[in-house]
């Protein structure tokens, strides 16, 4: 279903390089298993119990976790293999419950000759830097091919010893079962002589030198196709789960279902679980740029930035066209066209928009060069010929430079003209209706102004717009105001009434009002208190000592 989500929760199996198979089956177990890889040399020997001391086998069940020893490098292993006393902790681990009987079984069957090839790094003097040693032990070639489990049969080894080993391992895993399966770990096989198994935990991070330098992940077409199939299948499953019809299950339904099934309190919407069509998730990528015979499709392919340079080429061609047209007009002694495209309400594409259009990364210089070329094209007298081409790279700026529209007068049932206005100040919000042919009566929230605003200062504020326009006793006002305090409510009503009065008054007087500051929203709000200070500006008392 929502594989993306599930895969995030569980172990990321694909990261572990050569060990997808064994781990893949284990990661789907409900119990958290963290035993990672298993490596066996085909020519490995487990010593027979009769001849050698008990094998150094590490069982990685959770119980034995405490008794685990740190891993050792092959060199140390090589150095230490001649120790007479095996580690007591390992022995202790071996004596715990679990897969002991199968191990005995393992001992009897796996009496293999020592390997013919010398193990690398064992007892050999190589003039290599020490870092090689550390990374070498993590490399796959020291860990020979992985044996798969029953679910995912691994690569078949040619040697009979490995096959026997594989069979034994499978038996062991089956016996171990899903719950807390103890995997037999192989101790290091170091050098000729008695072979011991060793656990090696590797990740691709240890192999690859510089993962980040390989660039963004590239998705093949087959991969994207598969993702789309999985998405469609998952969509149907989700519809079934929600009890809806799979045929008419839209993207909004999917979003709602996912929000219901995976509720998340994360603030960032992009961090929440989502299930979208793969084309929305995987960024659009360039397909292979050349055909079967190896010849690239685009004639500017070898420049590296074919879309950008082809764009420059085309734009320059338009410029040459315009110049030719101008020359023709000049030859015929006709004046060049005077109409100019109005650039006021439009802007050029931003760099990101251009990058999206071209599907290529641009530098700032490239972008500025392109815009300069476009501007040169537009500035030319006959630039209007290529208007269609220029339109592709310009966008309208909406609403910024539009003139404020003054609403016309409205008329109520009695035929009295009135106009409404809205205003705010601090946290107060006021709406006002100013009626013509009035006597100067003002009602605020159904209460007379004298009762609502007992203080003279507030009433003066309310009066100011009318006083400014010499219309003191000529209008009635009905206001509703909420929020804020006494003074801010008064200011809000003042602004609302000034806005309403614009409809009654000439444009010149509106301009006078604007210059007087009657039509401007007062931006002053209470400044927040900062930590380390007593108030917004007041600092704590400074004491010399």
């Amino acid at each position: 279903m929502c594989r993306r989500v599930l895969s995030k929760c569980s172990l990321n199996t694909s990261r572990l390089g050569a060990v997808p198979t064994a781990l893949g089956s284990l990661s789907r177990c409900p119990t958290p298993l963290w035993v990672q890889t298993l490596s066996l040399t085909p020519s490995l020997t487990l010593p027979c119990p009769s001849s050698m001391p008990s094998p150094r086998v590490l069982s990685l069940s959770p119980e034995s976790r405490a008794q685990r020893l740190p891993l050792r490098s092959p060199r140390e292993g090589a150095a230490g293999r001649h120790d007479a006393s095996p580690q007591p902790a390992l022995l202790g681990a071996e004596q715990t419950q679990g897969p002991q009987p199968p191990l005995q079984h393992l001992h009897l069957h796996l009496h293999l000759p020592p390997p013919a090839l010398p193990m690398p790094g064992a007892g050999q003097r190589h003039p290599r830097p020490p870092s090689w040693r550390r990374s070498a032990q993590a490399r796959l070639r020291l860990c020979p091919p992985i044996v798969g489990t029953e679910a995912f049969p691994g690569p078949c080894c040619a040697e009979p010893g490995a096959a026997v080993m594989a069979a034994a391992l499978r038996r062991l895993l089956r016996a171990g079962g899903r719950r807390g399966a103890a995997l037999v770990a192989a101790a290091a096989a170091c050098g000729p002589g008695p072979q011991t198994l060793r656990l090696i935990y590797t990740t691709t991070a240890a192999w690859k030198k510089n993962v980040a330098a390989s660039g963004p992940e590239k998705y093949t077409e087959a991969f994207i196709k598969k993702q789309i199939e999985e998405f469609n299948l998952g969509k149907r499953h989700l519809a079934n789960m929600m009890g809806e019809d799979p045929e008419t299950f839209t993207q909004e339904d999917i979003d709602r279902a996912i929000a219901y099934l995976f509720p998340s309190g994360l603030f960032d919407k992009r961090a929440r679980p989502m299930m979208k069509h793969p084309t929305e998730i995987f960024p659009e990528q360039r397909k292979i740029q050349w055909g079967e015979d190896g010849r690239p499709f685009h004639f500017l392919f070898y420049t590296g930035k074919q879309s950008y340079y082809s764009l420059m080429h085309d734009t320059y061609e338009k410029l040459l066209n315009v110049q030719k047209h101008q020359d023709q007009l000049a030859a015929q002694d006709l004046p060049p066209q005077k109409e100019k495209k109005n650039l006021v309400g439009s802007r050029w594409l931003t760099k990101t928009e251009l990058e999206e259009m071209l599907l290529e990364k641009l530098s700032d210089d490239d972008y500025s060069r392109f815009i300069q070329l476009l501007q040169k094209l537009v500035m030319m007298p006959c630039g209007n010929i290529e208007e269609n081409y220029i339109k592709k790279f310009s966008r309208e700026i909406s609403a910024q430079l539009q003139k404020v529209v003054i609403e016309p007068l409205k008329y109520d049932e009695q035929g009295v003209a009135f106009s409404t206005g809205e205003g705010r100040r601090k946290t107060s919000r006021a709406t006002v209706a100013v009626y013509d042919n009035g006597t100067g009566k003002i009602t605020v929230n159904g209460i007379d102004v004298l009762h609502y605003f007992p203080v003279l200062q507030d009433r003066e504020q309310l009066l100011f717009p009318f006083q400014f326009l010499d219309r003191v006793g000529k209008h009635d006002m009905v206001c509703t105001v909420s929020g804020g305090g006494r003074s801010s409510q008064a200011g809000a009503i003042r602004l609302a009434s000034a806005k309403a009065l614009r409809s009654f008054v000439t444009e010149k007087e509106v301009e006078f009002m604007r210059q007087a500051g009657l039509l401007t929203v007062d931006p002053r709000v209470k400044e927040r208190k900062k930590p380390g200070q007593e108030g917004a500006r007041r600092k704590f008392t400074w004491k010399k000592r």
Partner: protein, 279 residues
């Protein structure tokens, strides 16, 4: 009035004279076929070896004449102070401090270069036009587009040829011929692509002016690279050669296909009755 100063020949020892231009490879020599896309043997025998029998199979000589070169101002070089030492063999003389390029040699070199280009185009090679002269950038790109080849008249990123597999992706095919219509870059130094092409074993054809270094260029063409007329002439010549060679290749392919169909039909007359599907 004083007689106008004549063209003063450059004094150079016999050693600095260019060696006699070698004959193009004889009928026996076979050029290696381009890229990892070899033809089948049956086609390769006739198709690829046929043009190699003649020194001027595509008859590129008829495309230009001495008069064309002269009227396009190809013979005009830079001033005496800008002269490059290795260009002295190609210079006819110096008049009023301006170098004059020897058009006889230019004719020979141009014929060789055009012949080579034609052979590369015949064998479906990738040809890359390079010029860092801003004045002719558009012209060169248009020429390349019209003859179905490639152009690079922009800033040259360092690893385009030498680091191609990382910059373009694995499996990219490099150009089989690079044609320099101006072999200097914007700071009057030799273009990096000359050296890189030599590193990658890519043959080069280049128009070398009197201030250029002709050393690493496989087929240099001594000539003017600054006049619009000269550049238009070069572009026209290269375009005509390439189109001519490609057309001829198409004709030969069709011919060979028909021929092999006939041969396949004639060789097995018995099968015809049974409706043999062999081509």
């Amino acid at each position: 009035t004083e007689p106008c100063p004549a063209v003063r020949p450059l004094s150079f020892s016999p050693r600095s004279r260019p060696p006699a231009l070698q004959q193009p490879p004889g009928p026996g020599a076979v050029l290696p076929s381009p890229g990892p896309f070899p033809l089948s043997r049956a086609a390769g025998d006739g198709l690829l070896s046929e043009p190699l029998g003649h020194p001027d199979f595509f008859n590129v000589k008829e495309l230009f004449s001495m008069k064309d070169l002269f009227s396009a101002r190809v013979h005009l070089g830079h001033k005496k102070g800008c002269r490059h030492r290795f260009m002295e063999p190609y210079i006819f003389g110096c008049r009023l401090d301006q170098d004059i390029i020897d058009l006889d040699q230019t004719m020979d070199h141009l014929q060789l270069a055009l012949n080579f280009t034609a052979h590369i185009a015949y064998r479906k090679g990738i040809i890359l036009f390079v010029s860092r002269n801003r004045q002719f950038c558009h012209l060169v790109e248009s020429t390349a587009r019209e003859c179905g080849e490639y152009a690079h008249t922009r800033y040259w990123q360092g690893g385009l040829l030498t680091n191609a597999h990382i910059q373009f992706g694995a499996g990219v095919r490099l150009p089989d011929l690079i044609i320099f219509l101006s072999s200097l870059n914007n700071v009057f130094e030799p273009h990096v692509a000359i050296r890189d092409a030599a590193k990658m074993n890519i043959p080069t054809v280049g128009v070398v002016d009197t201030n250029c270094n002709p050393c690493l260029i496989t087929y240099p063409i001594p000539g003017n690279d600054d006049s619009p007329t000269a550049m238009e002439l070069y572009c026209k010549l290269f375009k005509m050669t390439i189109i001519r060679a490609k057309d001829y290749r198409k004709q030969r392919e069709v011919f060979h296909k028909l021929q092999s169909k006939e041969e396949g039909g004639c060789a097995r007359p018995a099968c015809a009755s049974r409706g043999c599907r062999a081509p």
